[in-house]
Amino acid sequence: MTVHSAAVPVSDRARTDELYRTHRGAIARQIRALLQDDTAVDDLVNETFLRAHRSLQHFDGRSSIGTWLHGIAINVTRTHLHKRLRRAGLDERHAAKVTPQLAAGPEEEIAAELALARFRTAVRELPDALREAFVLRVLEQRPWQEVAEQLEVAMSTLHGRVARAEAIVRARMEGT
């Protein structure tokens, strides 16, 4: 079944369809990496494309449409993380630390899963600017130039943010 929105002109709809088909995968990967879990990825992907659809007329072409979409995804995810953090407060942080999904298996496997859960928590708890730089550059391995453009920061600032984020995550992993 196809849902038709009466308020959407056909040309806008076709353009949004095209954007969705072309960029959905990349946007979902980025959101997944920023969230460090799968819980809300689909909702946030839809929210990203909804906001893009409503703001297409404001896209000024100063960056590529992909960069613009990734920027919206970063904002959508940031808002989601703030809300989640506010709603759950410290309880969620605590829960995220102590309740990773453990698979039954040998000691190495359990230890590895616990370490990965701690790694995810460490990434999630980074300040916004550091988390976004770390995820885009280190986890998604996108080019420095592209990430700097995406986050609208100078290259030197980006290098600094990535280095600080790596230091914090590394310290969190070694400190536990």
Partner: protein, 335 residues
């Protein structure tokens, strides 16, 4: 010679290994798009549009009701409940309410604006209406108590309902990345609109006695329009206009009481300061948003709005009627 104790191999993966695993997890999401995902997305759009329409309709009805009450207050002032000032006349009320009424009608027009500048101006108009409602009912609860209370409640309620809708970062277009300074720019706009409203209310439209007040009012409107364009020239223009108003107020050209002079020159000075902060940030290429406000700003703003709504309703309820009567009679005697 003794053998060095052998460290057992740790089962915990190293940092680099964890990064590799996290990278692999990210890459597990494929580029394939299931048609059902696309349908779900359009369902999401449909739902979002419905919610937006409902939100706009509620705010629209509230603002129409508020403008109706303001008009009724102008036309049938003495018959409205809460009227306590026999020395009053309807001409003053008409002038006092003229600009707030224009602000409300302008808000109705801006409600469907798709540009961030238009939506920021809408927020500024709503904020100034709500603040003015609360201020009037706290300082002079006998003047227009019903209209002021409704202004506080309706404009505050509209702000709560609209939240950040229409102000999404991707809607900001402008030469100096205004999205990075949106909080400060909105605050500047609120102060400018509130100043303009205060100026008109306090001079009671007697511009033939104080032409400088009329010129300053026009200058403020030009500054507000410039600011809502979200261009650098608009920001500079607004700052210059504010500086002019502050100087005119301090030199006594506006014919205002000392307290109002202090308030207007203070807020105009604050706008100049805020403009300077934005310009410095633009020059440095850094945002002016505070990290703390990014996370807790919406909660803080929510509390302030609720406080303003309560104050606008509670003002007349707790006012000393006798004191208010004398205060207002004095005010009239002076003018």
């Amino acid at each position: 010679m003794t053998d060095a104790p052998q460290t057992p191999r740790s089962p915990v993966p190293r940092y680099d290994e964890l990064v590799r695993r996290a990278q692999a997890e990210c890459c597990a999401v494929t580029d394939d798009v299931d048609p059902r995902q696309l349908d779900a997305f359009w369902g999401h759009v449909e739902l979002g549009d419905r919610q937006a329409r409902r939100r706009t309709t509620v705010v629209q009805w509230g603002l129409w009701a508020l403008s109706g009450i303001a008009v009724a207050n102008i036309l049938v002032f003495p018959t409205l409940p809460g009227y306590t000032c026999p020395g009053n006349d309807s001409v003053d009320v008409a002038i006092t309410l003229a600009l707030p009424l224009v602000a409300i009608l302008l808000s109705l027009l801006l409600l469907r604006s798709t540009s961030a500048g238009g939506q920021m101006l809408l927020r500024a108009l709503l904020w100034s209406s709500a603040l003015l409602g609360a201020l009037v009912n706290i300082v002079e609860p006998s003047v227009v108590p019903v209209t002021a209370a409704f202004a506080g409640v309706v404009a505050g309620g509209a702000l709560l309902i609209l939240r950040q809708h229409g102000l999404e970062p991707e809607r900001y277009t402008g030469s100096f990345a205004p999205v990075a300074h949106r909080g400060v720019l909105t605050l500047m706009m609120i102060l400018a609109v509130a100043d303009a409203q205060t100026l008109v209310s306090w001079t009671n439209g007697s511009y033939w006695h104080h032409p400088a007040a009329g010129i300053c009012g026009m200058a403020m409107v030009v500054g507000i329009v410039g600011l809502s364009r979200l261009e650098l020239w608009g920001l500079l223009l607004s700052a210059m206009m504010s500086l002019g108003v502050a100087i005119a107020a301090l030199l006594g050209w506006l014919g205002l009481p000392l307290g109002v002079v202090a308030m207007i020159s203070g807020t105009a000075g604050a706008q100049v300061l805020l403009a300077a902060i934005v310009l410095r940030s633009v020059h440095r290429g850094t945002p002016t948003e505070l990290p703390l406000l990014a996370r807790w700003g919406s909660v803080f703003v929510w509390l302030v709005i609720v406080g303003v709504m309560v104050a606008s309703v509670a003002g007349p309820l707790f006012a000393d009627a006798e004191h208010v009567h004398h205060h207002y009679s004095d005010f009239h005697h002076r003018h």
